[in-house]
Symmetry: C2
């Protein structure tokens, strides 16, 4: 019999994740999950999708089903260049590459930059999926401090000076898990630190378009295009099941990312890319995005109101201007993993915050709440039940 003694050394960093275990209960009937990170199915442009498909087939024919280049589908890259320029990102079509979801570029970045033991600097807390992408390449994580305005530039500078990280990984806008957005002035500082210390910043931006209040903030990439890899995705604004992400990166980084991707999947689904290309080219992004925002904004408001109405005074939470998450922090000593199990008995689930930290023991009193999947009434009731579970501590 074959057994786990055959496994590579790097699998010691890919162990059964505690979070996967605790989230298994979500399959139980009747549980309201505030744990997910999925868009609401009502946010998909179902009424446009058959029309889009017809257009793709008549316009691109068999090209939509044939092998494509690893770099990505040319019409999609052209449409993205126009779109991204409008959002302040400095790029030309040939500087954009397509990935299988944003996840794809994170794996490739780990592969080309991280030798075992190399440092990656991350926000504390940070996006769990990025850690899962990087882990097999055996990095050492160094946490950078954050406050209500996200990453503290001085902390980044200290970490960069001390640890020389291969990558500084950031979700600057409506961060997963906190929902926080780094303000413009800090972005300028971050770009300036990156340039001064010649360090590579990964600006992961899957949520930036989901803004419910306030003004668009220019991406860090716009201040230092030679130091920043800007990563975007169609998952939150069109459909995650298509698995279409993209990035803009300095030339030599892009060349190596392509080599890495070629070994992993040759290229991203041609059909998915052609659908995304038409979605942009037909102006459906502009047309559809307001509908998503109209759907999510009241959900977020309902959750915030419920938190104010039901959560104990000892709790604080973020009030993000967009995105999909609210981050709540209980009093010191609270263990949200323990709370999780009580909450599940009351048919409500969330993600305990500790899983978003790389330091053992950090974030024990925190939790991530998602508001995109349930309706307002259900969200309110779920927060009420969650606060009952809290009060039983």
């Amino acid at each position: 019999m074959l057994d786990e003694s055959l496994l590579s050394t790097r699998t010691s960093r890919m162990g059964s994740s505690a979070i996967r275990e605790i989230l298994k209960v979500l399959a139980r009937p009747g549980i309201v999950s505030l744990a997910g990170g999925m868009p609401a199915p009502e946010a998909f442009p179902m009424d446009h999708v058959e029309g889009l498909f017809g257009k793709v087939i008549s316009k691109y024919g068999s090209d939509a089903l044939q092998y494509g280049t690893t770099e990505g589908f040319t019409p999609l890259k052209a449409a993205l260049a126009k779109y991204l320029n409008g959002r302040g990102i400095q790029t030309k079509a040939e500087q954009i590459n397509i990935t299988t979801g944003s996840q794809g570029v994170l794996d490739a970045l780990g592969k080309i930059f991280v030798s075992p033991g190399d440092a990656i600097a991350v926000e504390a807390p940070t996006y769990l999926g990025a850690l899962q992408a990087f882990n097999p390449y055996e990095p050492e994580y160094v946490e950078m401090e954050t406050d209500e305005q996200g990453l503290i530039p001085e902390s980044m500078e200290e970490v960069v000076r001390k640890h020389h990280p291969k990558l500084v990984y950031l979700v600057p806008t409506f961060q997963n898990p906190t929902g926080r957005t780094i303000p413009l002035e800090r972005r300028r500082q971050i770009a300036e630190i990156a340039a001064r210390h010649n360090v590579l910043v990964v600006e992961d931006d899957p949520y930036g378009q989901l803004r419910y209040r306030g003004d668009h903030v220019a991406p860090i990439q716009s201040f230092a295009p030679e130091q920043v890899i800007y990563c975007g995705s169609f998952s939150k604004v069109f459909a995650p099941g298509l698995r279409v992400g993209y990035y803009v990166a300095p030339d030599f980084v892009r060349e190596w990312l392509i080599r890495a991707k070629q070994g992993v999947d040759l290229h991203t689904s041609s059909l998915s890319q052609a659908l995304a290309a038409e979605f942009l080219a037909e102006g459906l992004m502009e047309q559809h995005l307001p509908k998503i925002i109209k759907l999510y904004k009241p959900k977020q408001e309902a959750m915030l109101q419920a938190l104010r109405d039901f959560f104990p005074d000892s709790f604080r939470w973020t009030e993000p201007e967009g995105g999909m998450f609210i981050w709540a922090e209980g009093p010191k000593g609270l263990d949200t993993v323990e709370l999780y199990h009580r909450a599940v008995e009351k048919k409500v689930a969330f993600v305990p915050g500790r899983y978003f930290y790389t330091r053992e023991g950090a974030g024990a009193e925190t939790m991530r709440l998602n508001f995109t999947m349930a309706d307002e009434e259900t969200l309110r009731a779920a927060v009420q039940r969650l606060s009952e579970a809290i009060k039983e501590t």
Copy 2:
């Protein structure tokens, strides 16, 4: 400025490939490429694809656009189990996982099994894309000898005993690059050797359904399901642009492959998977496959006849019963890279065989010829021009 000094140590195995360089000329107008490995666009079921899409949307609705599990789309796994059982593969739906093309599982296998310096046993010659998937995990390759009937089991046993490879990688049916098929009796021996030495065999089978003559040969997996990872794909029988592959593997291997895939792309395109599920469930595979075979069989015959008519007596070539490739071998001393450049002047391209070997200097006199992309007349003219280039040596 950031530069390549930042790169990980493993990128030393991901260097600019010579083959990519020489194949750049394919973009020149007027060249007939026998170098590709793509299905003919006429082989795609274009007349069914809009109907399939409509069915997918009416049957699965937003599920076809939503995030899915890393394991794969349940209806596709169910349809595949039935289909694979019919081809002699021992499996249940829950033992099948979906990947982003077959390429996806090769990357994941490298990740979970290969520590730097670990051995991978490969046929000489072997599939180049597998090497590209494995290379970043820094294996040492050990070549196993082949003859007209593919892998020689005694050579496999010797290599396994001496080098204890983590993986024995095989394309047993209509191999890329040679087109050779390992006969039944050798498959039994290979399974027996794998079991006796407790070694993991990767049975990569993208071409098995493209049989133009002779009888189906049972997969190695059917003789040793606990030792074999069987990998298949929709790329050659439906559409490669969908990027849908699958594998059947022993339980513990599957669990680790899922963890690896989660970090790389979360899951394979839901839409692509739903289309593949309906393609199988609606019986379109049985209906469409004969059309592909009818398209490719005369192309292969035309190429074989042209080889007989034009190639010098000093050449030998395979006469495969299926697949997409013919493998030709010139006299000792021939350098097919040099020949390649002369052939390109005559507007015909192929892949010099040396790129399919892991040993420096091996295969200098060999070449891979693809016959799926051009029509019979063009193929004949291309082989004639190629033989003129040979005779000018």
